[in-house]
Amino acid sequence: MRNYFIDLLTKEAKSNNKIMLMVGDLGFSVVENFKEKYPKQFINAGVAEQNMTGMAAGLASEKFHVFTYSIANFNTFRCSEQIRNDIDYHNYNVTVVSVGGGLSYGALGYSHHAIQDYALMRSFPNMTIYAPGTRSEIANCMKQIFKSKSPAYLRLGKTLPKNLKKPNQPHDYAPGKWTKILECKNRESKKCILTTGAVIDDAVKMQKKEEFSNYHIYSLPIWGMKYKTLQAQQINKWDEIVTLEDHLEDGGFGSYILECNSSIQKVGETKIKLKSLNKNVCNTVGDQDNLKEHFKFAH
């Protein structure tokens, strides 16, 4: 995912000299090509995320479109007040890019488990969360990010889905809009699994089980506080929605959908179930697949 992201950013930088890529001393074997091609648009801020994020706001105030790149929680939680005050409050054009969303770095322990980041990012009024799950979603998220002039959080997982044979590649991505990933056999079904982020494979596996064979798979890759009002209409179409995210339940994506549902004028009753990471994952180390299996994620 990160390689595809950097390819798209490198292409954009060719025609847009306002792009500035800042890294927090990370990105080995990922960012070198960008740095070589556009050295004036690349800054290694060192292991200093507070300064990197404050500087990003300063650069954005001078009309740069800044990308702050790091892994896991380093460019989110470590500098959360800089994101809150310096970037979000001033509505600056800064995209915080965290690679290793969810349990991508599961074997590296709790410091590297990015499983509370949605909770943080969705509490900022101007922030748009971009959590792509497929190649097409990455491309479209980046297209939206390049167009946008406001704060963004791009959460990248480790790998693209392997279980999705024919990925749906629609062209009508828009913030707050659900995208169809995979229909179930019963096309008339009023049930769906709604994902965000790099959990498409998990949803496909779920759908293969009898219990969920009657559920379509949709994703919502672009969301946030600004797009809550767009959810009512989409939620109301369904009898049942199962949300799926590689994040803790509290403050996460499912909670977001529940909040949207609780504030809408209901036509019918939509049943919403939340599937997220078990909080005990915090005390366990292991690679992503093992951790997910052990804690029965998406079961």
Binding site: A48, Q50, G54, A57, E62, Q82
Partner: protein, 270 residues
């Protein structure tokens, strides 16, 4: 109002700061008074700006990192015609843009602050932007001494020095008092000059109330290849005898009688 001397400007900044804080029953008057001379010299003699075009591209950028002392900045901007002196009446009132921590919603204020340790990294970002586009404008950032407890300042100083940002001037309002007691008793920062020098900065120490010294040190010719640091030795509550060097004026608001006494000492009637 036409004020041509920095000394007269500083008196009016102090007077309006006192009046605003008193009216709003707000805090931080002591720190406002300690930076009034600095602001007067900066806005009268150093910074390039056009108050009618607050976002003029070629302006110098000034960032008040110690945002709690914004009353003095708002007063300075009003006295320099960014908006009217009457606008200051809404300071810290319901619905006003003149919040009691520096607000970018006020014309001429580059950046909202209030949480310490945010102004310098932001200023460094602006200095990098100017360098990368070969712009001649400069960046000035005013920090408090207690604020230097925040690690983000030292991250930013390392970066600024490494990248030879000689278009950046860091001013420390060194009034020796912080929130509960002296800086010395809280977290000592001496030897401060040595600290900044060891980080690679070009450092000078001045009397932060002596306008001649301030003009000399702030004048923009920095021929060194490193960021400039000015340690301005100041007095918290400067100019009002009963406020000088007293921690309580970090919090208290002068009542009507105290305001009158203070204005008498400053020597300005409003």
């Amino acid at each position: 109002m036409k004020i041509n001397s920095s000394v007269l400007l500083s008196k009016y900044i102090k007077a309006y700061t006192l009046k605003m804080v008193s009216k709003a029953k707000a805090s931080h008057v002591g720190g406002g008074l300690s930076i009034s001379d600095l602001l007067a010299v900066l806005y009268n003699n150093i910074l390039y700006f056009d108050s009618q075009k607050p976002l003029l591209e070629s302006r110098d950028r000034f960032i008040l990192s110690k945002g709690h002392c914004c009353a003095a900045l708002y007063a300075t901007l009003a006295l320099k015609n960014f908006f009217t002196l009457r606008d200051l009446n809404s300071f810290a009132q319901f619905g006003s843009n003149f919040m009691s921590h520096a607000s970018h919603k006020v014309k001429g204020v580059e950046f909202s602050t209030g949480s310490l340790g945010h102004g310098l990294p932001y200023a460094v970002g602006k200095a990098v932007a100017a360098k990368s586009r070969n712009k001649k404008w400069e960046v000035f950032v005013l920090l408090s001494d207690g604020e230097l407890n925040e690690g983000s300042n030292w991250e930013a100083t390392l970066f600024a020095s490494h990248h030879n940002l000689n278009n950046l001037t860091i001013i420390v309002d060194y009034n020796k008092l912080q929130s509960l007691t002296t800086v010395e008793k809280t977290i000592k920062i001496e030897p401060l000059k040595d600290k900044f020098e060891s980080f690679g900065c070009y450092v000078s120490e001045v009397n932060g109330h002596d306008h001649k010294e301030l003009k000399n040190s702030l004048s923009k010719t920095n021929k060194k290849n490193s960021p400039k640091v000015i340690i301005a030795h100041t007095v918290k509550g400067k100019g009002v005898s009963f406020m000088e060097n007293r921690v309580e004026w970090h919090y208290k608001s002068p009542d009507k009688d105290q305001l009158e006494m203070a204005l008498n000492e400053i020597g300005v009637s409003l």
